[in-house]
Amino acid sequence: MSDDELAKDLGLLSAMTIGIGTMIGAGIFVLPGIAAQEAGPVVVLSFIAGGIIAMINALSVSELGTAMPKAGGGYYYVNRALGPMFGSIAGLGDWMGLAFASAFYAIGFGGYLVTFVPLPDVLFLSGVQVGALLAGVLFTAINYIGAKETGGIQTVIVLMLLGILGIFATGGALAFDYATLSGEALGDGQSGLAPAATGGFGAVFPAAALVFVSFLGYAKIATVAEEMKNPGRNLPIAIIGSVGIVTVIYAVLVTVMLGVVSWPDLSLETPVAQAAEVAFLEIGTGETIALGVASLMTIGALLATASSANASILSSARINFAMGRDKIVMPALNEIHPQYATPYRSILLTGALIVVFIATLGRDLAVLAAAASVLHLVVYALMNVALIVFREADVPEYDPDFEVPLYPITPILGTVFSLGLIAFMAPVEILLSALFVVGAVVWYFLYARDQTVVEGVLSEEIRERGEEMPDAVVGAADAVAPSGGEERPTVMVAISNPRTESALVTLAGAIAQHQGGRVLATHIVQVPDQTPLAVAAENRDRIGAESEKLLDAAKTDAETFDVPIETKTILSHRGLAEVFDAARTNDADTVVMGYGGARFAGGRVEGKLDELTHNLPCDFLVLNDRGFDPSRVLLPTAGGYSSDLSAGVAVALRDVLDASVSVLYVADEGEREAGEEFIADWAAEHDLSDAELLVEEGRDVEGAIEAAAADRTLVLIGATGRGLLSRVVGGSLAFSVLEELDTSVLLAERPAERSLLERLFGRQ
């Protein structure tokens, strides 16, 4: 087995049991009593309605999850599609939603626990809350320590639960009485399938809003998508399958429960245990067995709520990780514990939230349920919008194995239903969720905006198509766009050895100062191929002293310029490809590097090089250093796109380093005058009117350049054709100017077009 197969060991059955295990804990064991108070017997329809809404969202999650099987689930998709402001809402919403849901599961756990062990009220806490707090602390501790849990356990628990529920269903079906379900014996207003006392059929949707919390498990499958075997196939089956299965289980078992115990009498805390006891007494098994079955249900409920809470805590650590990686929250939150190898900080913080929610809101299970549901519904609505954005923006990297049927109807319905269900919540819950959204946006503007650099597909589209869009829309997109690392143009200089360091940094410094930008000096350390995938080492001091010395020298050299400098050591065995990657990751606008380094690194990846350099992430300046001296610059030009860049560099050298610039144009035989006119215009256009203008006649461009270069110190060539850099670096183009001149040569190439999604997806 390859390493990757070993790393991705979550199979279909395991994934499905994560979904089912998380969901049935809440829906069957905790909610039926409270939900029945809301709607009477038609609460069964509420469960089905919740299941349908969950199923529509499950289809969307499946598509997004197969397109991007990444840790973080909903947050990840929303952040990529809609940008970090909505990403903040989705990520914090998902996280808080999971904390509320865990508090809810813990209260459910406490409710069943007190039937076994009577717990006293403590201060302002009820016995149930005390039990819930114990559970919350226990689950947090288990995940902090990282108890040895193997996949088998989750599967066994879920199979046991299904068995226990099977026993209940059998007894319940035998004791089922339609008259009990329809409430014949009840008084006026309470009888009938849709009793007037709860508001008739009108109560179906408000109750659906309440029971939606029992469907929150399926999205957790998506948050661990990166651990799954064959996610393209297994993820949709697990997500859609688990929603389908639990919807059927809910519909059947809640019907059975209400046919055994009349809805107004159904226990609020322990409905399953109560219904089981009544059912088994009724079918004449005797009291001992009935009580035994009730205890079995209690054990099942404890297992179910515990596994729900556990999965939620693990899932929230994924969301934190994904947010930390995008710097929406502090990356330090995801630090791994040195002994237990767990994301202990994230787990402690989530655990603390759970404890606070239990203590402050735990008296009313419905409030916790509503809070969890409403936050998840907000996330689901955003996720559906994200799906539409991905499809509409025609992102080439977006290639899901599973596609939602009936696009765009499905995601539109998903959005409308998710938001619609929120409308059925109590006004105070809607208000709180609105406050939460405001809070997340405030968090984004106060903290995350300056940190994160990920821009969403949507705002990229709007900002790139600025002219076609209404000003207000562009203005809004600008206003919320991330500012982290984007305030100044970034000139990245890739240093490979001390010999060329000074020249490259001087060049980078001059350009950065001219543009009002900053310099990012990187030292790319080639490490042996066996070393695992290269990783940017954030702490310079972790790496050898050589790197430190080199980057210190770079700092000193950059000090002569009025620009901020940052340094970074990057470990890699990929050479040039790493330069491209680093340019993308750091959102560089210009890369300065040495010709030798490029050529050496390039030689190792011959095949891929072409592909790479045809797809430049930003402007590239490659210096062939033969004693760097920028005092007399020769700038041969034929006009055109790439020469804009070389002209810009010449202007920067002139303004910052007092270079004298000579522009050389090689005209066809007998076209000297036209050439002179052209070059004068060109120079004026490029702010080079003060430059010396040289025009040569003839066909021998290289000879002309060579002759002119003789008394100059630096030749600056704008790569005119796409891929010139590739051919030069790869050695396939015998560009004798580069090889034969005694002066230094600076090759400038500008990408034909910087594609919208490169910057987005280039991070991976």
Partner: protein
Amino acid sequence: MTLLSRVVVPVATEDDARSTCAALEPHLDEIEQVIAVHVIEKAGGGIDKAPLEKRREDAAEMLATVDSLLGGRVSVDTRVAFGTDVVSTLFEEAGDANATAVAFAPRSGGRLVRFLSGDTATRIVTEAELPVVALPRVEET
């Protein structure tokens, strides 16, 4: 061929990587190749205790540290291994690499922490499939 010719070195954290390298320092002339291994514990079908991607990133960093600290002196090979059991995965990896020994610098930690984290150090010794060398820790300067 000496005992430490091809030595497998388990690395658990960034700090462990540094102190292990420091502990290996006095023995480098006996070593031909250091094979640094970081084992990521898998749940074998359950949800892992930590996000996989985070563990991989950390693994790459700590192994790169070993490489940068020792790479100039001896040949260094680095590997990330996955398994439900850290110790047996480590020995499997050592077997694959034809290692002559496993050398490690036991990390400190109270009894409770050791108990809760599975006491890997003791298990490496008691379940050894290869000669195991416990390196004395060197105070870092």
